[in-house]
Amino acid sequence: MADRAPPDAPRIRAAGLTAFYGAFAAVKDVTLGFGANQIHALIGPSGCGKSTFLRTMNRMHEVVGGHVTGQVLLGNEDIYAPGVSRTRLRRRVGMVFQKPTPFPTMSIYQNVAAGLKVGARLPKARVDEIVERALQQAALWNEVKDRLHTSAVALSGGQQQRLCIARTVAPEPEVVLLDEPTASLDPQGTQRIEELLFTLKAAFTIIIVTHNMQQAARVSDTTSFFYLGSLIETGPTKQIFTAPAVEQTEAYITGRFG
């Protein structure tokens, strides 16, 4: 658990962000920045809005019919400004979901290369390189290098999730969002993913939603606690877990509710 100074220039930042499903505000007026090359954990009880908040960062919130008010700034750009392309945005802000979602009709190789298909056309040799690099970054290369062209759904659950991470990092996004990426995995699979997150943060800004407080404590540099749609407290992970400033945070992390 690295104890870093608060980030001075956030890579991505929400400003006065409120996210709605219809008339219901699932996230209320959140202002929160995420520094580059760090792992940021979002914690809180079920229904606290942390997943919704995560999905506003690459506008996946809108896929399920939600909308927002306020801003999300990627660098200096408001991703909700008129004329912003969602598809281009999502190539810069990638996402890994709770359950592994390999494309069943594609091979391992094709899965990793899937995100490259929508960018500029690349020569085959370059794609080969990127696929290898992405699988290395996802700590899966050694296990699959001899069967790159076999079905992706034959992999174990943990391997499938690492494949999804490789697929997400292959197009080199700036930010990687992870929505409870280990929730459906066994302890061993969970450990592999936690380990690879440390290597990934050298290249990406990582935001991870987790139900598992030990996981937040183990992997993250900063932790933000959400409750009932509001951001209650944010700070360096060590501080949140040892000396939270707000009573509710302490109650949650000590297991008194949630």
């Binding site: 996402m95 979901f97 979602t101 494309f103 759904v153």
Partner: protein, 281 residues
């Protein structure tokens, strides 16, 4: 103890009743197949598949004209009907609440319940009566009209079976919506769509009523879709209602060929489904 015996007895009676129901359901099918084989198989020979009919009274000849006619009419119907049915099905599944999708779904359900002879008369009014002559193409159009609602509904069901999470995964990679639909969603359920399409083709291959008003039938080899054309079901109809014993023999054999064509298509459909589960497991 007594109670247990009573329950066992009840269970056995119910299982027995269900078995009777299965036998009653399957028996006619077996009888049809057995009769067809018994009466038709003897007439099957190479000439039956390669020659056209001989004049009444003479023996020999075959139904090559009807086999070619069915292939042409059904093939053209598939070319017309499958793209429309599949395209509309994908639309209805991807935009389930769009007004157009709601209307299309309702119309498809109504059309699925419409007797095929109505579709035949409709095609007659629309094409034959306007062109002033019967044609294979009019037959294809009638069969395509029957096919579209079937294919629409099966395609829609198949597309909806694809987990939402796959769609989200593609969108999160920066896939535009149309591309998500085509290269991830449709690709994933393609075996299901193929199965539905083959079953629909098998269904329309045996349709007779729509062809009576459109393709009309013919005693000669015709490869011109603009002209009246023979088809297996029409040949069965013509020969079975004819006065000669030799014609009845041909009708039996033709019916057997028709059933075999449908059987092969159904088997292909089964195969496509099996491969889908194979690649997933």
């Amino acid at each position: 103890m007594n109670r247990l015996g009573w329950r066992r007895w009840k269970s056995r009676v119910m299982v027995g009743l269900m078995m009777v129901a299965v036998v009653v359901a399957v028996a006619p099918l077996v009888m049809i197949l057995a009769t067809l084989v018994a009466r038709g198989a003897g007439s099957l020979n190479l000439a039956f598949f390669t020659q056209i009919p001989v004049p009444a009274g003479e023996t020999g000849g075959g139904v090559a004209h009807a086999i070619v006619g069915t292939l042409l009419i059904v093939g053209t119907a598939a070319l017309l009907g499958l793209p429309i049915g599949i395209g509309a099905g994908i639309y209805c599944a991807e935009y389930p609440t769009a007004r157009l999708a709601v209307v299309a779904r309702f119309v498809a359900d109504v059309m699925n319940g419409t007797p095929s002879i109505v579709v035949g008369v409709f095609a007659w009014t629309l094409i034959v009566d306007v062109q002033k002559h019967f044609s294979g193409l009019a037959g294809s159009a009638a069969l395509a009209m029957l096919m579209v609602p079937m294919v629409l509904r099966t395609t829609e069901e198949m597309v909806r079976l694809v987990p939402h999470s796959l769609r989200e995964a593609a969108l999160a990679l920066g896939y535009p919506r149309w591309r998500t639909s085509l290269s991830v969603v449709v690709r994933t359920c393609l075996p299901g769509i193929v199965t539905g399409s083959l079953l629909a083709i098998a269904r329309i291959a045996g349709e007779t009523a729509p062809l009576l008003f459109t393709a009309l039938g013919s005693q000669f080899m015709s490869r011109d879709l603009d002209q009246p054309m023979a088809a297996l079901p029409l040949t069965v109809f013509t020969y079975a209602t004819g006065p000669y014993d030799d014609w009845h023999r041909i009708a039996w054999a033709t019916a057997l060929v028709l059933i075999l064509v449908v059987l092969v298509l159904s088997l292909l459909a089964r195969l496509a489904t099996r491969q889908r589960f194979g690649s997933r497991g």
